[in-house]
């Protein structure tokens, strides 16, 4: 049960450190269960918590541990990615994002925001604050596959990504446009259902999702652009 707010945690031993460890934050029990399974089926270790405050506690960044950064506190499980819902009571995903980016210890961890609402100013604000990506719910397997690219290839992206001179907004537009198309399509399912076999990814998954460093929304991140410019 949720007696301490950490509702599910994988015990990672040192030998397991090869697998990426994701901290998932969502106040909805249904969504936590789904995101946890999506991540596990994508070979990730998952810690799922029900609030931003629990997430900070897990990282050792909460108010009770004000000295966590100075006393050398290291969370027992290294976190490779944080994925958080936007709309949560008490602390929104945006507020959690800010706290993480303000922390010298954790600001390098990619943070992905999820939201059921496709609101451009919201998305812009999150990306400006340093979010790696923004996923419109409901989360699909293809979304999680794209996320793996942020985690596993942090060394690779410094070297071999392509030089797209996209405008800042391009990544955002592509991501949302695809989502808008998906939403329109999904509303037609009842009238003309697609032929479905054991599908591996959404029909609308952009091809970049199969290549780790070329997702358009990644380029839109200010932090990512900064890293790119340092590679010459």
């Amino acid at each position: 049960m949720e007696t301490d707010g950490v509702v599910s945690i994988d015990h990672v031993s040192p030998e397991d450190s090869q697998e990426v460890h994701v901290l998932a934050v969502d106040d909805s029990l249904v969504d936590r269960k789904v995101i946890e399974r999506l991540l596990k089926i994508s070979a990730c270790k998952v810690t799922a918590v029900d609030s931003g405050i629990r997430a900070l506690q897990f990282l050792g960044l909460d108010e009770q541990r004000r000295t966590s950064e100075s006393d050398g506190f290291v969370p027992s499980l290294k976190v490779d990615l944080i994925i958080t819902d936007y709309c949560m009571p008490e602390m929104t995903g945006y507020e959690l994002l800010k706290k993480i980016k303000e922390s010298s210890m954790f600001r390098e961890i990619p943070v992905v925001i999820m939201s059921s609402e496709n609101i451009l100013p919201r998305i812009d604000r999150c990306l400006e604050e340093g979010a790696e990506d923004f996923i419109v719910k409901p989360v699909k397997l293809s979304d999680v596959k794209r996320l793996k690219g942020y985690m596993a290839t942090r060394e690779v992206k410094v070297g071999s990504h392509d030089r797209r001179s996209g405008a800042e907004g391009v990544g955002i537009e592509i991501n949302n446009k695809r989502k808008l198309e998906e939403e329109e399509e999904i509303s037609d399912v009842s009238s003309s259902p697609p032929s479905i076999s054991t599908l591996s990814s959404s029909p609308f998954a952009s091809s970049p999702s199969s290549s780790p460093t070329s997702s358009p929304s990644v380029l839109a991140s200010p932090i990512r652009r900064l890293k790119m410019s340092n590679t010459d």
């Binding site: 909805s28 249904v30 969504d31 269960k33 399974r37 059921s116 999904i186 509303s187 054991t198």
Partner: protein, 155 residues
């Protein structure tokens, strides 16, 4: 009925749920997440959805029957219900929630009460449908068969 017939029945029933709009593509996503190691995943998530929804519907009924309706609270509940129904692919419930939220914005109590009725109705329908579907699955498994993983709509 032999296993093959049961499986065909399951396929036909599932297809009908999509054709009639009760379920959308997100439900298919959930089915993909089920495997031999997690054979009850869909049932588990849907059960959580049922519990969550029943709580929210109760809260909504209470909130809308107050003398001074707190529309922010009502909207928050509907938002949650919209989210969870969307996450499991319960399309009609989700759509009913979307309409509901519009009336919350207008602070129209009567319209909200009508929407609540609509949402309750759609919830009951999808709950019955899914319970029937899970019943078919249990029969298949009990007869030693496995639940089909391919749904071809071309037939």
């Amino acid at each position: 009925m032999d296993v093959g017939q049961m499986q065909r029945q399951w396929i036909d029933y599932t297809k009908s749920l999509f054709l009639e709009g009760f379920l959308d593509g997100q439900f298919l996503q959930l089915q993909q997440l089920q495997d031999e190691n997690n054979p009850d995943f869909v049932v588990e998530v849907v059960s959580l959805f049922f519990e969550d929804s029943e709580r929210l519907l109760k809260d909504l009924t209470f909130a809308l029957n107050q003398n001074g309706v707190d529309f922010k609270k009502v909207d928050a509940h509907v938002h949650q219900l919209k989210g969870s129904s969307s996450s499991i692919g319960a399309q009609r419930v989700k759509n009913a929630c979307i309409a509901f939220r519009n009336f919350c914005e207008e602070q129209n109590t009567d319209a909200c009460l009508r929407c609540l009725q609509q949402v309750k109705q759609e919830y009951c329908l999808v709950k019955n449908k899914l319970e029937t579907l899970f019943g078919l699955e249990q029969q298949i498994v009990a007869a030693g068969g496995s639940i089909p993983t391919e749904l071809s709509f071309s037939g």
